[in-house]
């Protein structure tokens, strides 16, 4: 973090000690990434998968499977996981609440409404298959989803100025989630069965729906969201100490809050549009990162959460391929299976101060 005076060596938050952890987590993510390329209805040995990736393999079928399906899917998992985790991290910072996240604050639900409007209402019947949406359509879907997410976040932020308690805020988030959910139900009710089926498939959550052509759109949104947070790590740290402290040391809290809101909406909104409402990852990954890196500094937590998010997403996707033998398990139940015990473990296994943002 900073040039270390002699006494800094034993600091619990010293930046130097986090390097081995980054290496470890990075290797784990790389391993899961390769496994994700290998696993599926057609099994490809990991070594072959790796060499095919670099154009060295001989099996053309494997090559096309990898190029058309597996690689985009693995990359989607890699980046979506990172995006959701970072979105969760900055929301936990913004609300100073370890339980904040794209899904608990109803932001996922907002994104779903945005996406639902495109899929269920706006699309011409018959051509509204997500699979048949053109690039423009997909961008519209992502944008609508991000706008839905931003609308909910803005609403929550507005309410948060009137409510002192973070707990109340979470309850508000849950209520907004219900509200958005009922709007979705109504849209589903008045929609055609065809669209509803597509919509329901979307709500299961999957990294597999993003084709090679669409991947750049998703990546653009994610990179935009991440870019907004670049160079803002210290302001994010300061927000953790409360608005008064932050303002006293010269942080423009309004601008920072706005930036967090936009970044979190872009990240969560885009991922939700492309992969469906992915639950738990946004809360669990930053929690795990905080615990694993024993740090509250965003200089460490931003990359750490991103890695942890990629790790969880790839792990869930690997499990989805491996367990079902040809079937692809939906992502959300798996993530809840992984995430819920993780969060519970973190809360039970540590004093409050370690859990909190």
């Amino acid at each position: 973090m900073h040039p270390a005076p002699a006494s800094r060596a034993e600091l619990p938050t010293a930046g130097a000690s986090s390097l081995p952890r980054f290496v470890f987590l990075g290797l784990a993510v790389a391993l899961l990434f390769i496994l994700d390329l290998a696993a599926g209805s057609v099994r490809i040995p990991p070594i072959e998968a790796l060499s095919a990736l670099f154009g060295a393999g001989e099996n053309e079928t494997w090559k096309s499977i990898l190029g058309i399906f597996r690689l985009p899917k693995a990359l989607t998992a890699l980046f979506s996981g990172a995006a959701l985790a970072v979105s969760g991290l900055v929301l936990q910072t913004l609300f100073r609440n370890p339980l904040a996240g794209p899904d608990t604050l109803g932001i996922g639900a907002g994104a779903s409404v945005g996406a639902g409007l495109v899929v269920l209402v706006a699309g011409r019947s018959g051509s509204t298959f997500i699979g048949e949406l053109g690039l423009a359509g997909y961008s519209a879907l992502a944008l609508a989803s991000a706008l839905g997410a931003a609308a909910v976040l803005a609403l929550i932020l507005m309410i948060s100025r009137r409510l002192a308690s973070n707990l109340t805020l979470l309850i508000v988030g849950i209520l907004i989630g219900y509200f958005a959910g009922s709007i979705l139900s109504l849209m589903v009710f008045f929609s055609s069965p065809q669209k509803v089926q597509i919509y329901l498939g979307w709500t299961w959550g999957s990294f597999g729906g993003v084709t090679r052509e669409r991947l750049p759109v998703l990546l653009a949104f994610i990179l935009l969201g991440l870019g907004l947070l670049l160079g803002k790590t210290k302001a994010l740290d300061a927000i953790l100490l409360g608005d008064r402290v932050a303002e006293s040391i010269g942080v423009d809290t309004r601008a920072t809050r706005r930036r967090i809101l936009i970044a979190a909406s872009l990240l969560a909104g885009a991922v939700t549009a492309f992969c469906g409402p992915v639950a738990f990852l946004g809360i669990a990954a930053p929690q795990g990162a905080r615990r694993f890196f024993r740090s509250s500094s965003h200089r460490i937590l931003l990359p750490a959460s991103a890695l942890a998010g990629s790790f969880l997403a790839l792990l869930a996707d690997d499990l989805a391929q491996v367990t079902a033998q040809g079937l692809v398990l939906p992502l959300n139940p798996l993530l809840a299976l992984l995430g819920a015990p993780l969060i519970l473990g973190i809360f039970l296994g540590s004093p409050r101060k370690e859990v909190a943002a």
Binding site: M1, E10, T13, R96, V245, G250, A357
Partner: protein, 360 residues
């Protein structure tokens, strides 16, 4: 140099935010022409809800003034950017937060924020400033500890160190002694005074009237009726302003001792107290007051008299009553003896006797 200056400043709140200019503003304090110079320690005193925090927040730019102007080091506060402002004034306001995995060093280094670029890497000079700030508050040995493991007093000192690391000419502390034990409260006041002697201007709001009277160079006293009064501690104590600002039924400021006292019904039993040992004498008087005895005026009528002296074995209390004189070797023996004397006399009907305010 004037580090802080206000001109016709009014602080308070607009009804439902600033966007309703038609509404009646709630004025907390108005017409303030205040100023602070370097090297001064000013204590802001006032009863609960008198507007101390509102004033401080306005002075550091976290709340808009209703009217008037605030200048920091000669520059108009309203025209300063957040970051620029942070180089002129550092504020420690009351706000609890969860410090997670931040160490004390980390927290204090937040004070360097306005001095670093967007990467916020600490230079060697920044590290020195942080270490100097830790040293100033006596927390050098705590640098590597987790902030969350500190006691309330240590936390407060670390937050002051954070403000010091900011290296601003003006330091504003809002009730830094709240929730602290007595020694920690005194330490904070000593620290504030030391910092002022070092050249900073320190403005501190507090409920600690006696400490503020003792330690500060100047008082800003908020009186609900008369607004904000400025003066030296002695001036405001002697002219009765402190008493007027804080007195309430059942409690009054005693300018002689600088303490608040509750006038209560006293037992008519009059005790004469004298002695050659000033410390023993002071505590004997306190014992008599605690037991609710009347202190006999010098040369006046008394039911019993006690004389405190220092002998070879230590303090000795000579208790003189109608029955004769007894030597007591400890103040607790004196208490037992006095309680015995009281028990022999009928208890006064407290409801019938008017409350007496008793001079020392």
């Amino acid at each position: 140099m004037r580090l802080l200056e206000t001109e016709g400043l009014s602080v308070g709140y607009w009804p439902r935010g600033r966007r309703h200019p038609g509404g009646e503003a709630r004025r907390v304090l108005s017409g303030l022409d205040l100023s602070m110079e370097e090297g001064r320690f000013v204590a802001l005193l006032g009863p609960n809800g008198s507007g101390k925090s509102t004033l401080l927040r306005t002075l550091v730019g976290m709340q808009w003034p209703l009217e008037g102007r605030v200048r920091l080091s000669g520059r108009d506060l309203a025209r300063l950017g957040v970051e620029e402002r942070a180089t002129l004034v550092a504020a420690v306001l009351t706000e609890r937060f969860d410090s997670g995995w931040f160490s004390v060093f980390d927290i204090v280094s937040f004070g360097r924020y306005p001095h670093t670029d967007f990467r916020n890497l600490l230079s060697a000079a920044d590290v020195l400033a942080v270490e100097a700030a830790l040293e100033a508050v006596g927390l050098s040995d705590f640098a590597g500890r987790l902030f969350s493991e500190l006691s309330d007093g240590e936390r407060q000192k670390a937050m002051i160190a954070r403000a010091l690391a900011q290296e601003t000419p003006l330091l504003v502390l809002d009730e830094p002694t709240a929730f602290l034990d007595a020694p920690a409260r005194i330490e904070i006041f000593h620290l504030a005074r030391r910092l002022a002697r070092g050249g900073k201007a320190v403005l501190l709001s507090t409920h600690e009237v006696d400490l503020a009277l003792r330690e500060s160079d100047s008082l800003w006293l908020i009186d609900r009726g008369r607004g904000l009064l400025v003066g030296s501690p002695e001036t405001l104590a002697l002219d009765g302003s402190v008493g007027e600002a804080f007195d309430r039924p059942g409690l009054s400021f005693d300018p002689a001792s600088g303490l608040f006292r509750a006038p209560e019904d006293r037992h008519p039993f009059a005790l004469g107290v004298s002695g050659g040992d000033p410390v023993g004498l002071a505590w004997t008087i306190r014992l008599a007051e605690r037991l609710g005895l009347t202190l006999a005026p010098e040369g006046g009528r008394y039911d019993a008299a006690v004389r405190v002296d220092r002998s070879a074995e230590g303090q000795v209390w000579v208790l003189e009553t109608a029955k004769g004189s007894r030597d007591l070797s400890s103040i607790s023996e004196l208490e037992v003896a006095l309680l015995g004397l009281l028990a022999e006399r009928p208890t006064p009907d407290s409801s019938a006797s008017p409350p007496q305010s008793q001079a020392l």
